[in-house]
Symmetry: C2
Subunit: 460 residues, 2 copies
């Protein structure tokens, strides 16, 4: 038995014997484990470690490495070795690699491919980055309907490699148009003299080359499938897509949604691998936009500076009041953005959402209003703080302001994502900070207007 | 050809002929399509529609219905029919159903099962709700090593139903302990007289009954697998798990994370299916906690009311200052929470994160500080607003306050999730509103302290 931790420790000390030992002598290690060890050490060490692996192991481990490490490796190893590895990759792993490298470096690396592979990669790179075409595996097994099961099995044995795409066999006509997919288990579970035609179930769920990755996730879930065929406009079978390749897609999409909602431009790489400069840049953009927007609060408060001077006590509650609007807006935005992202809500539901959120906002505002009212009354009566002779009117002001602002916050938070979607922008861009900023400015106006109305002739 | 939209429209009018027509005459419809139509109409209509389906279709469509609809159906159909359906479900779909019903209703529905199925469900219900055990399919194909491929195929043909778990055959010893898994394709791609023992690759990735669903997602991704065997403590094979069942898990986990981050208790059901009362309750809890916390801002400002009375102009910038802290905190919290959720960051990285975030905070604070300084100078010089004779000192106060508060916000936002994790709480609970609230209170203290220092003897 070997210990991954032990080997990683050795690696960190520059000792590669442990790594080479298990790779050479122990066949019971999964390439993913080796990849994990190489990812757990500094780049220089992992590069050195990878170069020391026997060729066979390099080929197996490479696809499991993270894409940044893959690129660094291809940059530093010899041209011949790089060409060998890139040509031997499965077609989907190869596409992942070429999708990640850009510009001049991409064409440089394309020169390393055999003509057949290069043409295939170039074809698929012609599809937009977010499409299924970029993820498909183009090695798949096909058969025609008139064959018997015995013939099909013989055909497979002669023509197909043992890889994960060989779990399903695709039934096509003479032109390569897809008719149906048949799991290999059906070849085994049925009598050998049956025809392939007898195994068809009549419906075939397919993806299209231009479907987005998100469409694919939805389809996998809807039909409880783990692999789906991908066709072009003429229904010609172009490749297959396995669900593990979109497992990351759903996660990456959620990551972008979450980061946007937190008011950060989506990161291209994991936090730990993003450079300090790019991290600050991604944050500064939104922070500056929000800051400039929030400057309107200073302007708004400037309009009311006479009121504040007369009743300083009003200023004390400004943060409490506006943050309540921001918080309730952030709650509403979260719920709506996520529901839209999961396609539980669509644009046409806006009226349902609006009625519901106005009612929620009123209820929540009333609850906070009561708490606010009680707080002022208690502090006054228990002599914690003196809000002056008109404390009761102040408490009433706070009560009504909270109802108004929480309702306004809830309504803005729920409607902004819907409006953004309506004009074809990403609803997730209506981040918590954005909603809070918008609500802050209007919240101040609501607060001081209600105050002016209630306190006129007394405090103001 | 039929149109789903057309049939749904008919359904909405109470006309079930379209639905029954396609189910009876057209075998080219996937049960998932029927389920989708039934989910798109009001409950009453979908219940009625389901009851009118032929038994065969009911069995096929049921697993694709959403769980709430499944429960409603079982409640209203006859006991015999309910018992028939529940017993015919695949074991994983049955577990999903029983996991969703609680309390008395669960035991009531358990009585509908045959003893063998009931015992199996009760066994698995003994495992915690978040474990793999709750998702496994207990129907799987096993074989022993000494058999030939031809024998294995014969064995499968006799003993196993044609369902998705039959894509992989599990090699076990006499006691049922798992040795390896062999994809069925290997039986087809190899010569029939080879032994099963010759097909083993020496490593077998397994899940354990008590692994969490999140563990399973990680393993599926790490090893690029779509189905994994699940064993108990004695390495006895208990069931298999397919990746489509955890596709939802990753999504649900992300949904909970996102909702928590937005300051809402995670919803149990989709937004549109959550009742108004439960929606308000889930939001009110956090909103009240945050409101009570935010009351400290009124207290903090109370301490400085003499300063505000002397320099009303200070109050004008309160919302701008504190929201900048909240926004930068929300950004930092988002990045750290997501990185921890994806296991890119662990607790031991706190020092790396802290150094990085202090530096980011200083940089971002400096940028905003400069903008704030320029804003005041411009407004003053262009006579947009008169900040009084000491406007320059005010601008300096704003400059330094922004640096201090943005740094403080960034630091809090990044450290609170790590601290929560340290005390075994969910980092996602450090929501944008929570971070903003904490930063608001301390931000005010920072602002007025810097103001007191710089403006002493002039404005104050």
């Amino acid at each position: 038995m070997f210990s991954l931790l032990e080997i990683t420790r050795k690696l960190l000390k520059g000792d590669f014997t442990g790594l080479l030992g298990i790779v050479k002598t122990n066949k019971e290690i999964h390439p993913a484990e080796v990849a994990k060890m190489l990812s757990g050490v500094p780049y220089k060490t992992s590069l050195k470690g990878f170069r020391m692996l026997p060729t066979e192991s390099q080929l197996k481990v490479f696809p499991y490495l993270d894409i940044l490490l893959q690129i660094k490796i291809i940059r530093v190893i010899t041209k011949d070795r790089a060409s060998f590895i890139l040509n031997k990759l499965s077609s989907d792993d190869r596409m992942t690699f070429y999708t990640a490298v850009k510009g001049l470096e991409r064409s440089h690396f394309l020169d390393l491919l055999e003509p057949k592979n290069r043409d295939a990669v170039l074809d698929l790179l012609g599809y937009p980055e977010n499409t299924v075409a970029r993820l498909i595996n183009t090695e798949f097994a096909t058969i025609t309907t008139e064959k018997t099961i015995a013939q099909a099995i013989e055909h497979l044995r002669r023509n197909h490699k043992d890889n994960e795409t060989a779990n399903v066999i695709y039934v096509v006509d003479q032109e390569g148009k897809l008719i149906d997919d048949v799991p290999i288990r059906k070849l085994v579970l049925n009598e050998p003299d049956k025809k392939v035609a007898d195994l068809l179930d009549g419906f075939c769920v397919t993806l299209h080359m231009r479907d987005t990755k998100e469409d694919a996730v939805v389809k996998f879930k809807e039909y409880d499938r783990v692999v789906l065929p991908v066709t072009n406009e003429e229904n010609i079978l172009m490749g297959v897509l396995t669900v593990d390749d979109v497992l990351d897609v759903a996660e990456q999409k959620d990551t972008r949604d979450i980061q946007k909602f937190g008011g950060v431009e989506g990161l291209d790489y994991p936090y730990v691998k993003t450079s300090f400069f790019s991290l600050v840049k991604k944050r500064a953009t939104w922070l500056i936009i929000l800051f400039v927007g929030e400057m309107l609060t200073a302007t708004a408060m400037g309009y009311f500076d006479a009121e504040i001077a007369k009743a300083v006590v009003l200023a004390l509650f400004v943060p409490l009041i506006i943050s309540s609007g921001g918080n309730s807006g952030s709650q509403a935005a979260t719920l709506i953005i996520r529901a839209m992202s999961l396609k539980e809500l669509t644009l046409k539901d806006w009226w349902f959402v609006m009625r519901r959120e106005i009612l929620s906002g009123l209820t929540l505002g009333f609850i906070l209003g009561v708490i606010g009212f009680v707080r002022i009354t208690l502090w006054q009566e228990l002599h914690f703080f003196d809000y002056g002779q008109h404390w009761f009117l102040l408490a009433v002001t706070i009560f009504f302001s909270l109802i108004g602002i929480v309702m306004w916050g809830t309504l803005s938070g729920s409607m902004i994502p819907i409006l953004l979607k309506r004009v074809n922008l990403d609803p997730a861009a209506s981040s918590a900070p954005l909603v809070a900023t918008l609500v802050d400015v209007t919240g101040l106006v609501i607060y001081f207007t209600i105050a002016a109305f209630i306190l006129k002739g007394t405090l103001l």
